[in-house]
Chain length 380, copies 2
């Protein structure tokens, strides 16, 4: 061995965290892959060349439980918290770094110990904080997007105004609105914030505007601060485009202190194959809370994209399952939310949900305010 037997590893607390993986295969294959995960995600050496000692006994992942079904198993593996400490990127690395490259492994659930969770400020508002801002305590919330890309700032602001007037709670930029020459970021955000404020003065209710601050990573904070000065009531960011940790950076910055809506653009590839990747429960639920989002957009069932009610239910669970001090956040189903389906979806998701009305709103007719009102009446 190239390092001595019985090598000690200093600085270990003895505390471990657990990850549940779904591994495809029969029990023999599952056992082999689970063992590979334990080594690949930590020491990256094959089992036979790691000598006895704390590296092998503590640093290497440990198989805690295998629940075998016909063609796959749920395998719980524990890691010492120190392997994954000092930041979200390294936690993601231990969770699914190397093995993301191997088909047939899916991250199903995280069980993070208190000492890891304490590194994360988590969501600043969560369900209760966002409800307080909106003064909407006992009903589902509604959000809608300002579209389409291509309109100038004034025209987008007009759309924002109409949606706010119709009783939408959160009027957000479409996630495709960035800083394009036809509607530059500052002009758009300024005008849309003004438009929503005007609608609020007229209605007396409290719609909030959430601009899209997705940007090159070194411009995100600056965009967020501008949005706040312009009067935005929340922010939206596509963590797939910026990286998970940009969301964490944003929500850890005390100067900003606005609710954050997380959009899954680009990261769909983690969930399109049910046997590989990261489960919707973890990706859209648990990881969003760790990174500090207050509301997490995902694809609803029954729309154009093929997701199941079970997957959507699991996202909703991942948004509220106990995770130490991290508050519960809003699941935001999007796609396929028509007026006709709202009663069914209200039954399905319960009260603590933000329904994101997309094309359903634009399809109902030319008067956006009237369309929005029809949706708003359904959730009162």
């Amino acid at each position: 061995m190239f390092f001595p037997q019985n090598t000690q590893v200093p600085g270990l607390s003895g505390e471990r965290f657990q990850v549940v993986y779904r591994i495809a295969g029969d029990s023999t294959r599952v056992k082999a892959i689970a063992t590979e995960i334990c080594f690949d995600q930590t020491v990256e050496l094959p089992e036979e060349i790691v000598p006895p000692g704390e590296v092998r006994d503590v640093i290497v992942g440990q198989i805690e439980k295998i629940e075998q079904s016909d063609y796959s198993a749920a395998v719980t593996i524990s890691y010492p918290i120190e392997t994954a400490s000092t930041g979200l990127p390294q936690l993601l690395n231990v969770l699914f770094g190397n093995i993301s490259l191997m088909p047939g492994i899916q991250v199903m659930a995280l069980h993070l110990s208190g000492r890891i969770l304490i590194e994360y400020t988590g969501s600043n508002f969560g369900i209760s904080g966002l409800r307080l801002l909106l003064k909407a305590f006992d009903r589902p919330l509604l959000s809608a997007s300002i579209r389409p890309m291509g309109l100038v700032a004034e025209a987008l602001a007009q759309v924002a105004y109409q949606l706010a007037l119709g009783g939408i709670d959160i009027v957000k930029d479409d996630h495709g609105l960035a800083n394009q020459p036809f509607a530059p970021y500052e002009a758009r955000v300024w005008r849309c914030a003004q438009a929503v404020a005007k609608a609020n003065r007229e209605t007396g209710v409290n719609c909030i505007y959430a601009p899209n601050i997705t940007a090159p990573v070194d411009q995100i904070i600056e965009r967020a601060l501008f949005a706040k000065r312009a009067g935005a009531g929340a922010l939206m960011i596509s963590y797939g485009l910026t990286g998970f940790d940009a969301l964490r950076m944003l929500t850890s910055d005390k100067r900003i202190d606005l609710p954050v809506i997380a959009h899954p653009a680009l990261f769909g590839s983690f969930v399109t194959t049910p046997t590989s990747g990261i489960s919707p429960y973890v990706l859209f639920g648990q990881l969003m809370r760790l990174a500090g989002a207050d509301a997490s957009i995902f694809v609803n069932y029954g729309g154009r994209y093929p997701y199941t009610p079970e997957q959507c239910q699991s996202v909703a669970e991942g948004c509220v399952v106990p995770m130490g001090h991290l508050p519960a956040i809003f699941p935001v189903p999007s796609s396929g939310l028509t007026l006709e389906r709202l009663p069914e979806l209200r039954e399905f998701y319960g009260r603590d949900v933000i329904f994101h009305i997309g094309t359903g709103l634009y399809r109902s007719g030319h008067d956006l305010t009237a369309n929005a009102r029809l949706f708003a009446q359904q959730v009162q």
Copy 2:
């Protein structure tokens, strides 16, 4: 319609860029999905409610070509460059934001126009720059990782020393070495850099040390600057853990000016399903060059992970295919690189490659320097 017919879009150059998607299905389904892509990736409105005018005629993606095979088609779609301008996150969004959530679509290739490319500084060294640094002009290069996680900084530095002494060109941190209490970042980087410098004085050759600077996104630049002060000759970053744009931010920072090796941790999910996600050609080749990496690690064929020679060949092509002013970069196949396979792999990849020797090196025996020498002799 909620916005007028014949709405003009100001600020358009008329220039478009092309994305080739593989879409699963027969010609009817392919046509339908291709049309959805054109709308979903831009205006996010259904075709029937977008009135005639520049939004529809220019902003919406356009199907340029469909090459139908039995069960899928290669579909070229063009977008106006302004939709994707002002940064890598928004380019990724137009490329594959929403539709990443739909199974059966794969990004196969990018054809970026000069006006988009000009936004990117690209790789600072590339193949020729890295060869110049290493004074190794006409042979494959060798890299190896300092392992395992769990050793203290002094012990890791000893591993680095042995590898450098054996003739490895690039001795890099294992990507699991972050800032753990048993080997904190600064102590590790300082000692490993010293160890490699010592080996260089003894051998007279020029091995470079590449520390892993993957970190919370607001600490990356600081870690890179520390590494440079400590004497690192290159840097490694896992862009999946930090986000693509953190790699772009790093390589655009003129104070740093070190070659960057890109590691794919976490982003394997984009390539594990051949019918969905992003092709290895784009992910490990084209996007890495756009983000500015000088060398791109990917999984070699014939190792424990199931990748094909064709996939590996395509990565190598993506690393060198003409892309405006962006230099060609090194493909870095990793996994399954044994002494026995080196001749075959040298034939396969040609001269412009960095062979990353992983467990093959540690498996060959207890004397790492002797093991490294055996590999080094093979590439002379």
